[in-house]
């Protein structure tokens, strides 16, 4: 394959290698030879505008020189080429270019945040003349505000247009552009269009001068005064590589770092500003024990002894079955491992589960039914190299912004995107994208219908041309599956929806023709296990990869660490294990008398808040181990302060089943009596006089490696991009019944709560820098708003079950009539007492209001 062969060429007399279609500059940079540049960025399109990277090509590979100097960013390396960036001609041109670039630059380096990490400053020192020959007044642009996070200082701009290209190519928002011509050319955002994208902060990182500065970091420190740590972000389940900057134990800022297999060079604004949660006022600083109904601060030893005494007596009275532990999906693998080990070996209980939300156990259990294991069925690189992506119940810009960028990357390379969602999600794409909006309750019929068309096309003669020898692993049950499928009729489905059969034929044709480069992304909207199973059956007949866009950051890792009912298999126990709903029911029934909540907040995280609250109010002994004061704390008997991932090292496993090492950036800051989360369990065990080994993080990792074979590779690897742990697909086709259409209550709306990353849990909600993001609100279709005379932005009274709430409404035409959307975690901000009513689907009666 000529595409894969390397090109050899001479650069400054040195043999270099380049890939086909690789610009000279990248080949040189890869070989650690610097060519000055501003507009060139490896992940953006090439524009060749700054002219700083000019090189002389004395032999274009055909024996002939190229007469003019060439921009090395826009010139591909070719075999036998002879290139130099050090000739007098190039030197002269570089000096000229830098003189032009500096002609209108204010040279206000002493007060510029970019100073110390400024490509203009650094490269000027290396490549330019030291003397300024300009007498003319410098260009001054009017000051403008563009976003609460980004402060523009456009007088410093060198017009590299990276920000313009980022917003048009990567993020798709197209907010940045340029106005005017010649030396009046002004880069900025279009009027009346505030920069609101959730990945907008990347323009700060890529700006090669101090023109786009970080408004939250501005003037708070200087680059050379800070320490930095490259680590992975733990605020969602993608695990982008980031650089955490701190000064004297205080976090200052977070910038993007490169992981070419996960986030390229981008991070979202939640990662960029979420660190502020570490220094939030509502951090729990000391352990607390409830005395006479009031939580009192105590020291660690007292708190641990208190828990141990209680556990010893509870264990004596009712045995291990009375203990339940929830959480782990927000903690590192090492903490999760210790958590489950403490339950299984010390408390002798199997009732430990990282899955609080029903969708979490629906996702993992469906994978186990159909494939025999959960996770490891596709990578983000597979996704960004796909020809066809199907998003089911996933709205990545809201949930996992970097996942959205990877989907857009695939699209920019020609992929077709199909989205199946109750609303028309916005991926900022205009072509090669289709939206399917099945009626609520009809999703499973929709998937079955696609299955039927796909299987008819894949197996036109039934099973006859499908020999047992070719039968891929895990295809057991295909015959029954196809038989039931062929018997089903979907006509009623099409009668009841607006959807046309031909649209389903289209999607089925796309699925089959792109079968080899097809990836499913299954999002958090899907809570129903039958629906999850049917999607996986479809993935199974197509033999395609899929990613579960799970909400908790380390659901995969905690599940792998058997913080789940699977733990009982590992420990050869035989208890009956309950899911989180059943746990709370058992607490109510008195079967469970002790709850340990590890970095989780079921009152706000579990959709059946009413049940959780009642369970908490019963006489259960509750230990809350958390970073921030959350909604569950008032019900706690003991509160233990937890460290955040910025203060504690550990490994996390993302949605690809890639294990990423998270390194501690700071020690627990002043006033926080921090104790590593993994240490706590062994200390309780010790106080209970039951030995549990845990001297160090390394020792726990060794134990994990012994316990879970595949993690050995991940935990011992030095690959800073992390190691993916694929799993063998097995399992069988599972036939589920088609559930009938839910009867909709007429004259009422259906409220759908969807995850929204800036509101995902107490940690992110406490990150005060993120409070400048646009306020969350109720979103309704323009049609409904028109019918009821609701104005955009007005506050409207909603009657939800027995309560009446006044909430801001925004018109959103991506939403079908009859549905109302609100972000999960939003309602609790507006009315704490409403939390317990948080059914996932809430029937809602609107109240007419005349404006």
């Amino acid at each position: 394959m000529s595409q894969e062969s390397e090109i050899n060429f001479l650069f400054n007399g040195k043999e270099l290698k380049a890939k086909h279609g690789q610009p000279i500059i990248q080949a040189a940079l890869d070989a650690e030879i610097h060519i000055p540049h501003f507009c060139y960025h490896k992940n953006l399109s090439v524009v060749g505008q700054c002219r700083a990277c000019l090189v002389e090509i004395t032999d274009a590979g055909n024996g002939k020189p190229i007469p003019k100097l060439q921009p090395s960013c826009a010139t591909f390396a070719s075999e036998g080429m002879v290139v130099s960036s050090e000739t007098p001609r190039v030197d002269e041109a570089q000096k000229g270019v830098f003189e032009f670039l500096l002609k209108n630059h204010p040279l206000d380096c002493p007060v510029c945040d970019q100073g110390g990490e400024c490509p203009l400053q650094d490269q000027t020192m290396s490549y330019a003349n030291a003397i300024s020959r300009t007498q003319e007044l410098r260009r001054i642009f009017p000051k403008k505000e563009i976003s609460p996070f980004i402060k523009p200082e456009m007088n410093r701009c060198v017009h590299c247009t990276r920000c313009i290209r980022f917003t048009s190519e990567i993020d798709g928002g197209e907010e940045f552009g340029w106005a005017f011509r010649g030396d009046k050319t002004e880069v900025g955002i279009y009027e009346d269009l505030p920069l609101s994208s959730i990945v907008s902060g990347n323009v700060i990182d890529i700006c090669p001068v101090g023109a786009l500065t970080d408004n939250k970091y501005r003037f708070t420190s200087r680059v050379w005064e800070m320490e930095h740590t490259d680590t992975s972000c733990t605020l969602c389940s993608i695990g982008c590589k980031q650089r955490v900057w701190s000064q004297e134990g205080i976090l200052k800022r977070v910038t993007a770092s490169e992981n070419s297999e996960v986030n390229d060079t981008w991070i979202c604004d939640v990662a960029r500003y979420g660190w502020s949660g570490v220094h939030a006022d509502n951090r729990i600083s000391k352990p607390m024990v409830k005395v006479d109904g009031v939580l009192k601060e105590v020291d660690w030893d007292e708190a641990i002894q208190h828990i141990a005494n209680k556990y010893v007596s509870l264990k004596q009275i009712s045995g291990g079955v009375s203990f339940a532990g929830l959480g782990g999906s927000h903690s590192s693998n090492e903490v999760s491992y210790q958590f489950q080990k403490f339950f299984h070996t010390v408390l002798e209980s199997d009732q430990v589960d990282c899955r609080i939300h029903p969708r979490d156990y629906s996702q993992t259990d469906a994978q186990i039914s159909v494939f025999g294991c959960a996770g490891g069925f596709a990578t983000l690189s597979d996704l960004s190299n796909s020809d066809h992506i199907v998003l089911y119940g996933s709205d990545p810009f809201q949930e996992h912004p970097i996942l959205a960028l990877q989907i857009r990357k695939a699209h920019s390379k020609g992929a077709y995107i199909d989205s199946i969602n109750p609303r028309k999600i916005d991926l900022r794409l205009n072509n090669r994208v289709s939206h399917f909006i099945p009626l609520i309750g009809m999703e499973i019929v929709f998937i079955k219908a696609i299955q039927k068309i796909v299987s008819r096309k894949l197996f036109p003669d039934g099973m006859s041309n499908f020999s047992k020898e070719n039968n891929p692993k895990g295809f057991d049950g295909l015959e029954d599956f196809l038989e039931i499928l062929s018997a089903d009729s979907f006509e009623h489905f099409f009668e009841e929806t607006d959807m046309e059969m031909s649209l389903l034929e289209d999607i089925a044709t796309r699925l089959i023709s792109n079968k080899d480069k097809l990836t499913f992304v299954i999002g958090p909207f899907i809570t129903d296990i039958s629906l999850n199973i049917e999607i996986l059956n479809l993935a199974k007949i197509l033999e395609c990869g899929f990613l579960y866009a799970s909400v908790p950051p380390n659901l995969q890792g905690a599940f792998d660490m058997v913080v789940s009912p699977r733990g009982k298999d590992h420990y050869e126990k035989n208890f009956e294990v309950r899911n989180s709903d059943q746990v709370f029911e058992s607490v109510l029934a008195g079967d469970i008398s002790s709850l340990y909540l590890m970095n989780c907040d079921p009152i706000s995280e579990h959709p059946n808040g009413k049940l959780v609250r009642e369970a908490m109010e019963s006489s259960c002994f509750v230990v809350v181990h958390a970073t921030h004061m959350n909604a569950t704390i008032p019900f706690a008997d003991v509160v233990l302060p937890a460290l955040t991932s910025y203060e504690e090292s550990g490994s996390y496993t993302n949605i690809e089943r890639r294990t990423l090492m998270n390194k501690r950036a700071i020690k627990p800051s002043n006033g926080l009596s921090g104790k590593e989360n993994w240490k706590v369990f062994a200390e309780i065990a010790k106080a209970m006089e039951i030995p549990m080994r845990s001297n160090s993080l390394a020792q726990i990792q060794t134990e994990i490696s012994e316990f879970f074979d595949d993690y050995k590779l991940a935990l011992t690897s030095s690959n800073s991009n992390g190691v993916c742990l694929p799993q063998e697909k097995e399992g069988k086709f599972v036939v589920s019944k088609i559930s009938t259409l839910e009867q909709e209550k007429k004259d009422s709306f259906k409220l759908i709560l969807t995850p929204h990353l800036p509101l995902s849990g107490i940690y992110v909600s406490s990150a005060f820098h993120l409070w400048d993001m646009p306020d969350a609100c109720i979103r309704m279709s323009g049609l409904d708003c028109d019918n009821f005379g609701i104005l955009n932005g007005s506050e409207i009274e909603f009657k939800i079950e027995e309560k009446t709430l006044k909430l801001p409404v925004e018109i959103d035409d991506s939403i079908p009539a009859g549905l109302i959307f609100a972000p999960e975690g939003f309602l609790k901000i507006h009315n704490d007492s409403f939390l317990n009513m948080g059914e996932y689907f809430v029937l809602l009666e609107e109240k007419k209001e005349n404006s």
Binding site: A52, P71, G96, V97, K103, N104, R133, E136, H159, K184
Partner: protein, 433 residues
């Protein structure tokens, strides 16, 4: 002498009825395209005829027309013709008259070019300020559509060609061929990085030919009268045919003159344009629009520089767009340089650092000298900026600015020094810069 010279593209200029298709047809109009379509002349044969004629582009660069066409790859799918009627070069007004006075000649030229290259869609990109030519060309197109000369199955053949008029919005840079394509696509007029060249990847990413109005207007005549006839006009086979010289400035008879290639600049000024006003002395001539380096009086009268493509190039200037600006001894050359660099500063698209900052800087320095605020170092600064602005950018606007002020500075350095030493404009120029 002038009355005996053969006129080609301006042959119908004297009668305003030629704006209309009836008069045009009566004077052998649409015969050229009809004959090649009827006879089934192959596209290769048409390209060969144009190659043999030696016709070179009349827009500025003087690139051989037939050769340009032959670069278009023979691929399936759409190919485009973009007609460059964005006549913005200061001192140039030939395309305006060609469109106003003989629009059907242009349409026929477009049809021939499209036939030769296998193009079914042509866009005439007309400078936005040319509101009258836009109306005339649109009217003429309507007439041609009605007759079936443009559109589907032209002359009953399988040749289809649709022609559209697109109005520019006042940017000089959209006359640069790739800037023009960007503008046609609805974007900011930013010249594109080359390669890929437009012949391979042009409008909407498809093979595209870009030809100047005057170039296309020559085509019907070449087809009708033959390549040999055309190549006989002018001084040699590489500089054949006529050129439209737009003579302006200090001459007694400014105007548009279609003359064979190879006349001297002196002949154009003295014999055709009636000589310098008031019998004054010539100081300088811009031979081919603002970008073309000036010629001095000595070069005109003593060296007798000829006004064809190759002679001008040998003299360090260029034929450019045919805009001949004549300046007499009363002209302040510093002011000329200041005014023209202001023009380039204003028209730079702003993408390349070199041009964005360079044109502005040059303009500021020269204007300052003209105002009497110059310092001695300004001359050496200007001289060192000049080479840095050449050859280092995406398009040649920066080069054009450097060629312009570089030539004026080199040939009239004493005037710059005078300004600096006397701290004012010695010629007491009445215009402020």
């Amino acid at each position: 002498m002038s009355s005996t010279l053969e006129k080609i593209v301006t042959s119908r200029f004297d009668d305003s009825t030629y704006q209309h298709i009836d008069a045009y047809e009566k004077s052998a109009g649409y015969q050229a395209i009809r004959s090649i379509v009827d006879k089934g002349v192959t596209s290769e044969e048409v390209i060969e005829i144009v190659k043999t004629s030696g016709l070179r582009g009349r827009g500025g660069a003087g690139f051989p027309c037939g050769l340009k066409w032959s670069f278009v790859p023979k691929v399936n799918g759409p190919k485009y013709l973009a007609v460059n009627a964005d006549e913005g070069e200061p001192g140039t007004f030939k395309d305006r008259e060609l469109m106003l006075r003989d629009p059907h000649q242009l349409i026929e030229g477009i049809l021939i070019a499209s036939y030769a290259v296998g193009i079914e869609k042509a866009y005439i990109y007309i400078r936005g300020e040319y509101s009258a030519p836009i109306l005339v060309v649109e009217k003429a197109l309507q007439e041609a559509y009605e007759k079936g000369y443009v559109g589907k199955n032209i002359f009953g053949s399988s040749f289809n060609c649709n022609i559209y008029v697109h109005s520019g919005a006042g940017a000089y840079i959209c006359g640069e061929e790739t800037g023009l394509l960007e503008s046609l696509e609805g974007k900011r007029g930013h010249p594109r990085l080359k390669p890929p060249f437009p012949a391979v990847e042009g409008l909407y990413g498809r093979p595209t030919v870009i030809n100047n109005v005057e170039t296309l207007c020559n085509l019907p005549h070449i087809i009708n009268k033959g390549a040999d006839w055309f190549s006989q006009i002018g001084i040699n086979e590489k500089n054949s045919g006529t050129r439209m010289y737009c003579v302006s400035g200090h001459v007694n008879k400014p105007g548009l003159y279609e003359l064979p290639l190879g006349l001297t600049c002196e002949e154009i000024i003295e014999e055709h344009s009636g000589g310098i006003i008031d019998g004054k002395k010539l100081k300088a001539v811009i031979p081919g629009g603002a970008s073309a380096p000036v010629l001095t009086s000595k070069e005109v009268y003593e060296d007798k520089i000829k006004m064809d493509f190759d002679s001008l190039a040998a003299a360090g200037s260029m034929g450019g767009s045919g805009g001949v600006v004549v300046m007499d001894e009363s002209t302040c050359m510093v002011q000329v340089a200041a005014r023209l660099s202001r023009f380039f500063e204003h028209e730079s698209c702003g993408q390349c650092s070199v041009c964005r900052e360079g044109t502005g800087w040059v303009s500021e320095i020269i204007s300052r000298i003209e105002r009497g605020k110059g310092v001695k170092e300004d001359i050496s600064t200007l001289k060192s900026i000049d080479p840095n602005m050449r050859g280092n950018t995406i398009c040649v606007l920066s080069d054009a600015c450097a060629m312009m002020f570089g030539a004026i500075l080199n040939k009239f350095q004493d005037e710059f020094e005078d300004h600096i030493n006397k701290k004012c404009c010695p010629l007491n120029s009445p215009y402020s810069v």
